[in-house]
Assembly symmetry: C2
């Protein structure tokens, strides 16, 4: 699908919600539901019909008055917007428990994401296998990046060394970094980055336990 629209002016908050829309639409599809109103979708997702319409209007309204949204069409449109119609090559650096969990997650995708190689610094696990991948020494990362097109580098190392790994990924020409290390990495402006800060999320929860819920 070719998108001529400029999505850059859409707020990050809306972009962040798109994968959530995708999850709910997938559920509806699995249940054989072919169309859904903004009211019903809002009810499922815990927001108002008008919020749903406002979000989706950002991408050109896909709904039809009196009909609602075609579930399959909207789902595919969101896949197109997110860029999931293509295939992305990934590398994982850091093959501890978290790296293995991420490896499992990503391996569950059929076509959108493919793991090219996985790396670690620990000599005890280098050369062993995770699924169909053999863990490589992280010193081989620059060579791997220069010989292969890699779209996304996944950092599942501890804090120490994470910035250095990010620099190697940037110099190796990746398009984006998916960061799980508990720091904000410094990367050039043209590199996309999202971080999963696990501890931040636990502390946020702790606030709500003490100060009332966040629903």
């Amino acid at each position: 699908m070719n998108h001529l629209k400029d999505y850059n002016r859409i707020s990050p908050a809306v972009i962040k919600r798109l994968p959530r829309y995708k999850r709910y639409l997938s559920d509806l599809r699995k249940k054989g539901i072919e169309r859904v109103s903004s009211g019903k979708l809002g009810e499922l997702m815990g927001c108002t019909a008008s919020q749903i319409r406002q979000d989706l209007n950002n991408f050109g309204g896909f709904g039809q008055q009196g009909y609602g949204y075609n579930v399959a069409a909207l789902s595919e449109e969101i896949d197109g917007i997110l860029g999931l119609a293509k295939n992305y090559k990934l590398v994982i650096i850091g093959v501890g428990n978290l790296g293995r969990a991420v490896h499992n997650y990503v391996s569950a995708y059929n076509k959108e994401y493919t793991i090219g190689a996985i790396f670690d610094v620990n000599p005890d696990i280098i050369g062993t296998n995770v699924g169909t991948h053999t863990i490589l020494d992280v010193s081989q990362l620059p060579a791997h990046l220069s010989e292969n097109k890699v779209d996304i580098g996944i950092i599942t190392t501890t804090l120490d060394g994470a910035q250095e790994i990010a620099n190697l990924l940037v110099n190796g020409g990746v398009g984006g970094i998916w960061n799980f290390a508990p720091l904000d990495l410094e990367v050039p402006e043209e590199i996309a980055i999202t971080s999963v800060h696990i501890s931040d999320s636990l502390q946020e929860l702790t606030f709500y336990i003490n100060n009332g819920n966040n629903l």
Copy 2:
């Protein structure tokens, strides 16, 4: 520290940023830096001085004109706001790679969080140890919750069964749920919940790779 303020009217976006402030202030403390201006803090965190002041004013301005913020005092104040001056008892349900990674994360806290018990459904791992904890059968969860005060239930299971586990946690009287399963759980309003939706974050990154960066 006793907080008489009502923090409920503070926007979720500000709450979400507090752990990030905490990380930057910890870094400054480790470097022996005793005070920081809103300008310098903004520079480090990639935002404006006025955004920093606006965020922190929500909790009563801790800064002093011409002096800036006392790093230690601000850091402790944020700990107090987040509720990190207390100790929380946790249980983990789902001891796969992700559950083990979360177990490691939480175990690194000295006093704020303590893991009380860990559970799984897989007979092959029930009875084996993770750190100092023995994996219990998930059928023992209700009894554990009735015999122990548990503040936070951590769900690191797959999608299937996650809602059922959430129901057990709610019935067992937990204050909050930290959810890693890829769905939005339904819980009563008084239960705090934060979710780490790993796949959502990867899809968000994919959008930015295709449509320019998010900085």
